[in-house]
């Protein structure tokens, strides 16, 4: 235990920079804005690196009331999430430098982008559920401007939908927190749970109900059925890089919330074999299948990707819901892998919109000839998402399936892997046709008529880096897995 204020730097820095960009009228020219935003992004990423490498791990900021400290603690899960968030958010920011040239109100965008950067890092560092809830609410409120950025009627309505769904989820969580506070010793995250058997005294059924509400509540952000529909509305409406980080990172905050609730507050043992676990597994598997089906039928590229997110996040939730160490390792691997892959795919979709203005899947014939490097990345990421060896997706799905088969959950231990497999086929079905049409547009398209429209380096570089990471993850998994296994207990 090392109490140190260093833990605050990655949270305070981006918020300060973002606030300055929003409030200081002197940042007027585009170059000044980009300098400020770039400095904010890089300094934050560096400070995250410093924190991850350093040995500071706790910090109590202040007390909301006598028994509610705002308390930060860095553990394995937190380190993992912080690392992924810091990296992806930084790359999304770099991409925005070029992409946002085509949008209005850049200042507002970068201001809120940076503030949310700080808030999500605070989520990763949170040491108790109150702190987590505090930043969870703030994340919702401050990310709304990113969603409705375009200012069209649809975008504003999407922003509102996002806000209301998220708040609805947050209040389900809050309901659970009220009761946890009564029946537990502490609200600090403790592996194995914080419930106090003496205080509960026969109220287990009720507590199971509150646990279910909390899972459902955090499940809203993670796009779990039945409260998933905001995702397919909000992600396509946001500007390219914003939808990339929304799909890659913000939804993961819901996953983090579920992990904290299940493993660190109620404890896996409390839920094992209960109706909550059964219903939860059923919901995740249904979401996996439904998301893939909807993506398969969808014609708008960004919306297809959003439905794909719905499906893929529920892979992660499924891995968590079987309450098995191996499956949880798979879930954590998939957190990383999906963050890289989905962010890269959304950035590709953004680049296509930015350079050609095309949004529908059937308009993408021959895009591989126009933007070859980007489309190659798209292809590799698609393969990683489907789970073809040796990409990251293969390893994570392997662990998920093995964990599910190993667990003692009746029916679902074999049904789960089957659904995952079917969904993988569907994933191939909704991603690979795009790829094949892009590179082999067919006879009616003259091969000479394509002009090069490759995105500029600011946009291309993040995509390439993310793709490389997604592919390399499969190869490097031997190094990552032991770390994840300790984090997964």
């Amino acid at each position: 235990m090392n109490e140190s204020v260093i833990l605050m730097f990655p949270i305070v820095l981006p918020v300060l920079f973002g606030g300055a960009i929003l409030c200081v009228p002197r940042i007027r020219s585009r170059s000044a804005l980009l300098c400020a935003a770039g400095a904010g992004l890089i300094l934050t990423a560096l400070s995250v690196l410093a924190v991850l490498l350093g040995n500071a791990d706790t910090y109590t900021l202040f007390y909301l009331t006598k028994s509610l400290p705002v308390y930060f603690r860095l553990d394995g899960i937190g380190r993992l999430f912080a690392a992924v968030m810091a990296l992806v958010w930084l790359l999304g920011g770099v991409y925005s430098f070029s992409y946002m040239k085509h949008e209005k109100e850049e200042k507002r965008y970068f201001g809120f982008y940076l503030i949310v950067y700080g808030i999500i890092l605070a989520l990763a560092f949170s040491g108790n559920i109150i702190t987590f809830y505090l930043f969870y609410e703030l994340m919702t409120l401050f990310s709304v401007p990113l969603v409705l950025h375009k200012g069209t009627r649809e975008a504003v309505m999407a922003g509102l939908k996002y806000l209301l769904y998220s708040l609805c989820g947050a209040y389900l969580v809050l309901f659970g927190i009220y009761f946890l506070f009564r029946f537990s010793n502490t609200l600090s995250f403790t592996w194995g749970g914080v419930l106090n058997q003496e205080l509960i005294g026969g109220r287990e059924p009720f507590l199971l109900f509150t646990a279910f509400l909390m899972i459902l509540g955090f499940g809203v952000k993670a796009g779990m059925f039945p409260l998933h529909s905001w995702l397919a509305t909000a992600h396509p409406e946001a500007p390219g890089p914003a939808s990339a980080v929304l799909s890659g990172i913000i939804v993961k905050c819901g996953v983090l919330g579920v992990i904290r609730t299940v493993y660190y507050l109620f404890g896996a043992e409390f839920l094992r074999g209960s109706w909550v676990q059964t219903v939860w597994i059923a919901l995740t598997l249904f979401t996996v299948f439904m998301g893939s089906m909807l993506a398969y039928r969808e014609k708008l590229l960004k919306k297809r990707l959003a439905y794909s997110t719905v499906s893929q996040i529920s892979y992660i939730l499924f891995g968590l819901s079987v309450l098995d160490g191996t499956a949880m390792t798979g879930a954590l691997l998939h957190v990383i892998c999906h963050a890289f892959v989905k962010c890269a795919l959304f950035l590709c979709a953004g680049a296509i919109i930015c350079k050609t203005g095309r949004t529908r899947v059937d308009e993408l014939k021959g895009i591989g000839k126009e933007m070859p490097v980007m489309m190659w990345c798209f292809t590799l990421c698609s393969l990683a998402l489907i789970g073809i060896p040796p990409t990251g997706g293969f390893v994570s799905k392997w662990y998920l399936a093995v964990g599910a088969l190993k667990s003692a959950v009746p029916v679902f231990s074999w049904l789960g892997p089957v659904v995952l497999l079917v969904s993988a086929l569907l994933t191939a079905g909704y991603l690979l046709p795009i790829v094949s049409d892009a590179f082999f547009p067919g006879a009616e398209y003259e091969s000479g008529s394509f002009e090069k429209k490759e995105a500029d380096p600011y946009m291309l570089l993040p995509i390439v880096i993310l793709t490389a990471l997604a592919v390399a993850m499969g190869v490097l998994s031997a190094q990552i897995v032991p770390f994840l296994q300790t984090a997964a207990g």
Binding site: L64, P145, V156, G159, L160, L167, Y171, L174, F179
Partner: protein, 491 residues
Amino acid sequence: MQPVMMFVAVLLPVLAGVLAMLIPFSKRKYLEIFLEGMSLLDSVLVYSLLTHRPTEAFAIVRFTGDLTLSFRIDGMGMVFGALAAALWPLAMLYAFEYMRKEKHQKLFFLFYMATYGVTLGIAFAEDLVTMYFFYELLTLVTVPLVMHTLTREAILASRKYLYYSLGGAAFGFLGMIFIIVYGISPDFVLGGSLDLAAVGNRTDLLLLIYVLAFFGFGVKAAVCPFNSWLPDAGVAPTPVTALLHAVAVVKAGAFAIIRLTYYCFGTEFLRGTWAQTVVMTVTIVTIVYGCSRAVKETHIKRRLAYSTISNLSYILFGVTIMTPAGLVGALSHMIFHAVMKICSFFCAGAVIHQSGRNYVYELDGLGRRMPKVFGIFTVSAMALTGVPGLCGFISKWNLAKAAVESDNPLAFAGVGALLVSALLTAIYMFTIVLRAFFPVGEPDPEAAQDICDPNWYMLLPLFLFVLAIVGFGLYSAPIVEFFTKISQGLF
């Protein structure tokens, strides 16, 4: 301090109001300075009374027997008195600017000041009789304020307000009689003053009387189904709606119910009875009802009025939990809601004053024109929905904690109602914020060009309120500690 000072504190604003009427001020500025000075002086007096509390009671009039009009300050009275004394000078400042163009200003300020005195009278009342006296008086001095514009609408609204309040007070009177007959004394005693030997087997009758009196005083606190006067009374000028119909008058209703429940009938007598079930159900229904109506309403002030209805029932919900923790929750929401709601009302008033726009759909893009006002409004909206770090979270936490600890299944449902209401609050508050800051489509650069933030008369109170919202949200330990002591009878 001398006990007589309590009487002085109550009388001073009334006299100041009358004097302001009589003295022919050559400039409006002098009138402002006089009134502001007087209300500040009275607030200083109140705070020194609270820090150096007189131990003795002060009797103004002695009727037959032990019926007296008398003052004594206990913990509850301190809370309500401190609240009024903190808000009144700021509201005065705001009112000067808001009323600048209105007619009959002196009359307005006479009644505005008089209401200050009467509110303090309710806070300092030693027994039910005194409180009842000032409670009736409060209705009478605030009716002219509602009527102020003298439009047909205003006259109808004030008439409705008068009938509702007087009718409610009649039921309160009934409760008072029974407390005098079956109580040891009409004085407020934490834990109740019922003489159980005298009650004998008339428990059900007394419970019925409690429920009737709850509804009677509940009229001012706008419980369902007696709440329609409150949105109508919103025709009054904003300083009145903000201070009286979001804080002083309606909180006087809540205050009276706290006195009735904790200090007259006593929670021991009421807890677990059908009476508790009835009143708690009513508060839960009102919580959800108020919010739903607020979502439907497009007139800004009426929307906020419905929000007040819902939030008042948060306080009453805390009261009806009938445990010390419930009282702590009720008191925290009483104070914190006062700050949040007066803040959002003043913002709405500033918008109306600067732009003349009254409806939510007229606010598109005004956030750019009035960044300070809408920035503050956003903070108050976040506080009302209960974002952690702002004061609304603390009071809801205290309420929910009390409800969870009470082990009453109905109270658990109440926690659910609080959260449903929080979601609805988010809808009706954030739609305003979104419209103001993120208008749909291209804003017309010509439109609304002359609209800007108001001057410091209006901004200073707003800044202080927003400071209070954040301050209480981040550092609430001492004040909650104080409430806990009150609930245990240590003050």
